[in-house]
């Protein structure tokens, strides 16, 4: 699989986790792609942590409004019915449990639901931005990540080694190889890529992993 194919599998699968009416916050990068795969008949409301609800697609070239950007600073739009607010209210929404689902990337995620996504000591210290609040505050936390690093090392670990974004808050992990529920020190494989066996997935997964009795194949994008 190419990186792009992996990303599409992950984004499309996560989109199927969303329910009609959900308030959703998507992290920067891969999570942003989820917006392109919302199933028909499902309407969700995207929250942008820099201060609005009703985040819409990028504007046509030339229609950019410098006062309307997403959390990555890119030009976006606000859909009819959207609402703007300041950072205090934005994070009251996030921390107060008013966001139904957040989707974030990961450097590491573990079998206890710990997530490391914001720094590599001595190497990369961008800051946590809004991620710590999102992971603590959202009702459901979904991590979307490639199954392994570029060097092929596992990212689904027994215990995170990098500094955490939040402790024990992740509910679901979606990679190109499968969908995993976090269950107290073990990752339960709910769905798997049809081309891979459970054992093939286990080899590239450091976390203790068990296949759910009702294990299914992921429905891949056409």
């Amino acid at each position: 699989m190419t990186d792009e194919q992996k990303r599409i599998i992950i984004a499309q699968r996560i989109a199927q986790e969303l329910s009609d009416g959900d308030v959703v916050n998507l992290g920067i990068g891969l999570p942003t792609m989820v917006a392109s795969y919302i199933p028909p008949g499902i309407e969700v409301i995207f929250q942008s942590e820099n201060g609005f609800l009703g985040l819409g697609p990028a504007p046509a070239p030339g229609d950019e409004d410098p006062d309307v950007v997403n959390a990555g600073g890119q030009p976006v739009t606000i859909l009819p019915g959207g609402a703007c607010f300041d950072s205090a209210l934005s994070f009251a929404i996030i921390r107060g449990g008013h966001v139904d689902v957040t989707v974030l990337g990961a450097l590491e995620v573990d079998a206890w639901g710990n997530l490391a996504s914001w720094m590599i000591p001595g190497k990369m210290v961008p800051g946590m931005g809004g991620a710590m609040d999102l992971v603590v505050g959202a009702r459901k936390v979904i991590v979307g990540t490639s199954h392994t690093t570029k060097d092929g090392k596992p990212k689904l670990l027994r215990q995170c080694r990098l500094p955490l974004t939040a402790a024990r808050e992740v509910d679901l992990v979606v990679t190109e190889l499968g969908v995993f529920k976090v269950d107290h020190g073990s990752l339960v494989l709910l769905e798997k890529h049809p081309d891979y066996t459970v054992d093939q997935i286990r080899v590239v997964t450091e976390a203790p992993m068990e296949a759910a009795p009702e294990l299914k194949d992921m429905v891949l994008p056409v």
Binding site: N50, D67, G73, D86, A88, F91, M128, V136, L164
Partner: protein
């Protein structure tokens, strides 16, 4: 009533060594003309409180490049590699604060509160050195207020009493910072007469604002 000053007159109020809050999320809603003038003026040893450090050479990034800042309190510095380099070099001391916590700490500073308890950061290095409380079975960190000598903020419209209206996602940290500094300087796109803004639509009451300045200078 706030004074209406030119950008250079307004920026002259900032002294080396001050603690300065600057509104904006990257360049969106940042008072870029005030920042540019401040970078040009050559102040130094500022403690800067802002969500991020803009990008290299724009927004708050201009102050980083101009060597004006020795201490930074922010939630994210990844969009400006210059900030990271200076932090690693030891030329810049950086305190990283989760974004929602940063907003609440500034709000506390402006609202006369001694702190808030937040669940954000529990079990992470953001909890280091902080008191932890368990309330109804959930753990929280005690986060303390932030205030500044001067806040530089950006609004869309002001009236001559300093009442402010922001536009879209350019609001962000500006309203809380307007409450939390001894001197508040607002860069605005337009100044209208008293009575032109509906009292219900004002987002920052004019009593918080000491100086108004226009993004683009026009005759007063």
């Amino acid at each position: 009533m706030p004074k209406i000053l030119s950008i250079p007159e307004a920026v002259a109020k900032v002294q080396s060594g001050n603690t300065v809050m600057i509104g904006g999320f990257m360049t969106c809603g940042a008072p870029v003309n005030l920042i540019a003038e401040l970078a040009r003026r050559g102040v130094h040893d500022l403690t800067l409180i802002s969500n991020d450090t803009g990008v290299q050479g724009d927004g708050v990034g201009m102050l980083i490049s101009a060597d004006a800042v020795t201490k930074l309190i922010a939630s994210h510095i990844g969009t400006n590699p210059e900030t990271g380099r200076r932090m690693i070099d030891g030329r810049l001391s950086v305190e990283l604060v989760p974004q929602g916590t940063l907003a609440e700490r500034i709000r506390c500073g402006g609202a006369g509160l001694g702190g808030v308890l937040t669940p954000t950061g529990v079990g992470t290095i953001a909890a280091e050195g902080k008191q932890e409380f368990v309330i109804d079975g959930r753990a929280y960190l005690l986060e303390t207020p932030l205030r500044a000598d001067i806040a530089l903020i950006k609004a869309w419209k002001a009236d001559r009493r300093g009442n402010l209206v922001y536009r879209r996602s350019a609001r962000n940290f500006n309203p809380v910072m307007a409450m939390a500094a001894d001197l508040v300087i607002a860069e605005v796109e337009e100044i209208v007469d008293v009575g032109e803004l509906d009292p219900d639509q004002i987002m920052t009451p004019g009593i918080f604002v000491d100086v108004l300045t226009r993004s683009v200078s026009t005759d007063d």
